[in-house]
Symmetry: C2
Subunit: 483 residues, 2 copies
C-alpha cells in the first residue's frame, strides 16, 4: 500500500515536473508562441517517462493555459495576452495646443525604414513573407493585354477604380452599413486619406485634437498644414480620457480630432464600444469632425472585428480612413476613406493633388479582394501577429532592466515600452541605429517631452535569433543609458 501510494505520488510528481519544465521553457522563450511542442513520442523517448505521463503533463500545461491541442497535429504554445510587465498608466496633464516640429527627426527614421541592411523594428511594417504575394503575382501575370494597356495609358477615375470601391463597399456591410460605392475615395495609403480629410475639415491655424502619445505621421501632417496639435491625456488601455475631452473642448476651440480607437498606434489599446459611442455623440453635440484611422482594425487578437467610430455616426461627422498596407501590400499604396459629409471636398482635394491614383495597383487589389481568399489570409495573419507580439513582449520582459513597463496590445503589431525615467529614447534610437537596429523613439509621438523615456517596437517580422539578438542589444543600450 505504501509502495502503491509512493508510486502514485512519484507518478504525480513526474507529470507535474515535466509540465513545469515545459512551462519554464515556454516562459524563457525556448518554445515561442505559435510553435509546436515536441510530440508525445519524442518527449517519451527524451524523458524516459511513459506515454501516459507525458500526455498527462501536456494536458496539465493546457489547463494552465500555456498550450493548445490541435487535432491530429500536436500541442502548440499559446500567446500570453495577459500582462507580462506592468502597463504604462494614464497620466493626466493640462492639454495645450502646440506647434509641431518633429520633421527633422522623422527624416532620419524614414531613411532607416528604406535601408534593407537595418533590423526593422521601427516602422509599422509587416514582413513580406506574411503577405499574399503569390495571389498578387498571379493577378499581375494573368492580366490581359487590353486591360493592362487601359490601366497604364488612361487616367483612372479620380475617386478610385470602380471595381475596388465595389469590393470595399461589399466588405463594409457589417461595419459601416449603408456605405455605397460613391461614398468611398481611394487614396495613396492611409496617410494620404488622413491628410486629405484633415485639409477638408480644418484650415491653417486651427487646433486639432490627438491622443497622447499619437502616431508621429499625424503630427507631421499637422505641422505641414500649419495647424496646432492638442494632445489629450490617453489611457493606455482604453483611449482618450473623457473628462479631459469635456474640459478641453469647453476651453479650446477645437476644429477636428484624429483618433485611432482600434489597436492604437503606438499604445495598442482597443477602445470599448460604450466609449466609442459616447465620443461620437459628444463630438456630434460639439460639432467637431472625427478623422478615424482604422488601419489595424482587421488585426484583432481575439473575439470579433471591433466596431468603428464610423458605425455609431449617423450624420457623416466621422471621416473613416483605412488601407491595405498592413494586410495586403504596402508597396501598392492603396488606402481609402469614407469622408461622410466631407466627401465632395475630399474628392476635389484628391483630384487637385495628383488627378488620380494609378490604375494598375488599384486593379490588383480589387482582383485580390474579388478572389475570395482575403478572409482566410487575415485569419492566418492575425494568429501570426498575435504570436509575434507575444514573443517580442516576452523577450523585452526577459532582457530589459527592471522598472520597464510595456503595453499588452489586443491587436495590431506594436509594443510601447516605457523605460526608467532617466533613459532618453532618442539616445537609445541613435545608439541602436549605429548597431543596425531601427526603433521609434517616443519623443516622435508627442509635441511634449512626456514620452522621451519611451520607445515603440514593431513586431511585424517572425521572431528569430536575429531579432532576439537585436532585443538583447537594445536592452544593453537601455541598461547603459540608465546608469
Amino acid at each position: 500500500m505504501t509502495t502503491l501510494y509512493t508510486n502514485h505520488k512519484a507518478k504525480e510528481y513526474r507529470y507535474i515536473k515535466l509540465a513545469s519544465t515545459l512551462e519554464s521553457k515556454i516562459a524563457s522563450g525556448v518554445y515561442r508562441a505559435g510553435e509546436k511542442l515536441p510530440s508525445v513520442r519524442k518527449l517519451h523517448k527524451r524523458t524516459g517517462l511513459s506515454i501516459t505521463t507525458v500526455y498527462q503533463s501536456l494536458i496539465e500545461l493546457e489547463k494552465r493555459g500555456f498550450v493548445e491541442a490541435r487535432r491530429k497535429s500536436g500541442f502548440y504554445v499559446k500567446p500570453r495576452l495577459t500582462q507580462i510587465l506592468p502597463s504604462p498608466t494614464l497620466k493626466r496633464h493640462r492639454p495645450v495646443a502646440k506647434k509641431v516640429s518633429i520633421n527633422a527627426v522623422a527624416a532620419s527614421i524614414v531613411e532607416a525604414m528604406g535601408d534593407r541592411r537595418i533590423m526593422q523594428l521601427g516602422g509599422t511594417v509587416v514582413a513580406p513573407q506574411l503577405l499574399p504575394h503569390k495571389e498578387l503575382n498571379r493577378i499581375v501575370k494573368t492580366m490581359t493585354y487590353k486591360k493592362l494597356t487601359d490601366l497604364m495609358t488612361l487616367y483612372e477615375n479620380p475617386t478610385g477604380n470602380t471595381d475596388l470601391r465595389r469590393q470595399l463597399a461589399r466588405r463594409c456591410i457589417d461595419l459601416l452599413q449603408g456605405t455605397g460605392i460613391d461614398d468611398i475615395v481611394i487614396t495613396s495609403g492611409c496617410i494620404e486619406a488622413v491628410s486629405l480629410c484633415l485639409q477638408a475639415v480644418a484650415r491653417p491655424g486651427d487646433t486639432i485634437l490627438v491622443e497622447s502619445p499619437t502616431y508621429p505621421w499625424f503630427l507631421q501632417l499637422i505641422e505641414d498644414l500649419k495647424m496646432l496639435a492638442l494632445e489629450l491625456p490617453t489611457d493606455p488601455s482604453s483611449g482618450i480620457d473623457i473628462d479631459s475631452l469635456k474640459k478641453t473642448t469647453r476651453k479650446h476651440r477645437v476644429q477636428a480630432a484624429i483618433l485611432v480607437p482600434n489597436f492604437h498606434n503606438p499604445l495598442g489599446f482597443l477602445m470599448p464600444d460604450d466609449k466609442k459611442k459616447f465620443i461620437v455623440s459628444f463630438m456630434r453635440k460639439m460639432k467637431i469632425p472625427i478623422i478615424e484611422d482604422d488601419i489595424h482594425g482587421d488585426l484583432y487578437f481575439s473575439g470579433q472585428r471591433p466596431a468603428t467610430l464610423k458605425s455609431f455616426d449617423r450624420i457623416g461627422l466621422v471621416l473613416y480612413c483605412n488601407s491595405f498596407s498592413k494586410t495586403v501590400a504596402p508597396g501598392l499604396r492603396i488606402g481609402w476613406t469614407i469622408p461622410g459629409a466631407f466627401h465632395d471636398r475630399v474628392r476635389q482635394l484628391k483630384i487637385n493633388t495628383g488627378i488620380a491614383s494609378p490604375g494598375i495597383t488599384q486593379h490588383v487589389v480589387a482582383e485580390y479582394l474579388n478572389g475570395g481568399s482575403h478572409e482566410r489570409h487575415l485569419r492566418n495573419l492575425r494568429t501570426i501577429l498575435k504570436n509575434q507580439v507575444n514573443n517580442m513582449a516576452l523577450m523585452v520582459a526577459r532582457y530589459f532592466p527592471e522598472g520597464t513597463r510595456i503595453t499588452a496590445p489586443k491587436g495590431g503589431l506594436m509594443l510601447w515600452v516605457e523605460m526608467g525615467s532617466g533613459v532618453d529614447g532618442l539616445n537609445v534610437f541613435h545608439a541602436a541605429r549605429e548597431q543596425g537596429i531601427a526603433i521609434l523613439p517616443g519623443a516622435m509621438c508627442s509635441t511634449t517631452r512626456r514620452y522621451n523615456h519611451c520607445i515603440r517596437i514593431s513586431c511585424g517580422s517572425p521572431v528569430d535569433e536575429k531579432i532576439e539578438t537585436a532585443i538583447k542589444v537594445l536592452a544593453e543600450i537601455v541598461r547603459n543609458s540608465s546608469g
Copy 2:
C-alpha cells in the same frame, strides 16, 4: 510655233492647276497634315494627265511648302505652322492678388474627363494608341516573381525608385547639367510635383505669381493651400510681360512664381531663351523661387529640345517639375521634380503625405527608359502631335464664325481659341457637354473674367470624322451663342 507655245502654256497651266486643286484640298482638310497624297500613278489615272505633269505639280506643291517628299514612299501633307487665324494678342492689365474659387467648375470638368463616352477635347490627354503600350506590357509581363513581390510588399524609397532616378539623371545631361540621382524626387504626376514645391516655398496667405491665362490646376492648388494668385499679363507668343513683372514685384510682396516657359498650357507659346535667362536672373535678384512646369518640353514641333529655366539657374531657386503623363503613360502617375535648394523640404512633404509612390509603376517607367526606345517614340509622337494640332486648327478656322482668333502653338497639344467677345465660354462648355463633347472653358484659366470668351481645345487624338463632327457641333454652338 504658236501651237508649240500654246501647248507649252496649256501644259504649264495643267500642272499648276493640279497643284492648286491639291492645295485647296489640303487647305479644306480633304488631305490632312501627316497624310500621304495619292501616288503619282493614281493621280495620273484619275486626272488623265501625264506622269511627268503630275510629278511636276507635286514638286510645285512641295515648293509652295504644302507637302514633303519621303524617299520611296511618296508625298506627305506638311503641317502649316504659320498662322491660320489671327493670334490672340497681349492685353495689359493691372495685376491684383486674388483669392481663387474655381474648384466647383473643375469638378464637373474632371468628371467629363473620366467618362469614356465623351469626346475628350477637354483634358490634356494623349490618345492611348499613341503611347508605347507594347513596350510597357512587355515589361510588366517579363518581371520576375521575386522582383514583383519586392515591388508590391515593400515600401519603395520615399524619394523614388533609384533606377528611375538614375535614368532621369542620365536624360538630364544636356538640359540640366550636374543633376544627380539625389537631386530628384519622384511624385504622382507633375501636379503632385508642383503641389509639393508650392508647399515647400510658400505658406497660406502668400501671393503666387502665375501667367494669365494659366493652367487651371495651378489655380486649384493655390486655392486649396489658401494662397493668393497674382496673374501677370502674358504675351500669347512669348510669355509673361517683363515690364509688368518688374512693376508687380516692386509693388507686391510675391512669394513664388509658377511658370510654363515651354509650350505653355493653354497658350502654347515657347519663351525665347533670352527672356528665360533674364527672368531667372531677375527673380534671383528678387529672391523669388520659380516653380517651372516643363511637362510639354519634349513635345516641340521643330528645331531642338528647348532650354529650361532650370538650365539658367545656378543657385537652386528654380524648382523643376515634369512627368511622363503626356509621353509614356498617364495611368502610371509618374512625375518628378528637381527642387534645387528646396530638395529636403519637398522630400519631407512627399514622405508625409503618402510615404512613397508605388514601386511597380516606377519600376515600369525605369525599365522602359532603360530599354532605349524612348527617343524614337518621342520623334514619332512629336510628328503626330504637330499634324494633329495643325489639322485641328484648320478645322476651327474652317467652321468657327468670323472674328475667331487662335494660337499657333510651337509644341504641346493645345489650342487656345478666342471667340467673339459676346460668346460665353462656360455656356459653350455646358452646351457641348450635353452633346457629348468636353472642352475647357477659358474662365477656368483665370481668377478674372478676362478669358470668359475663350476655350481650350485638346489635340491629343488623331483627327478623324468623329472629331470633325465635334468641331462642327462646337462651331454651331459658338455661332448660336454669338447671335
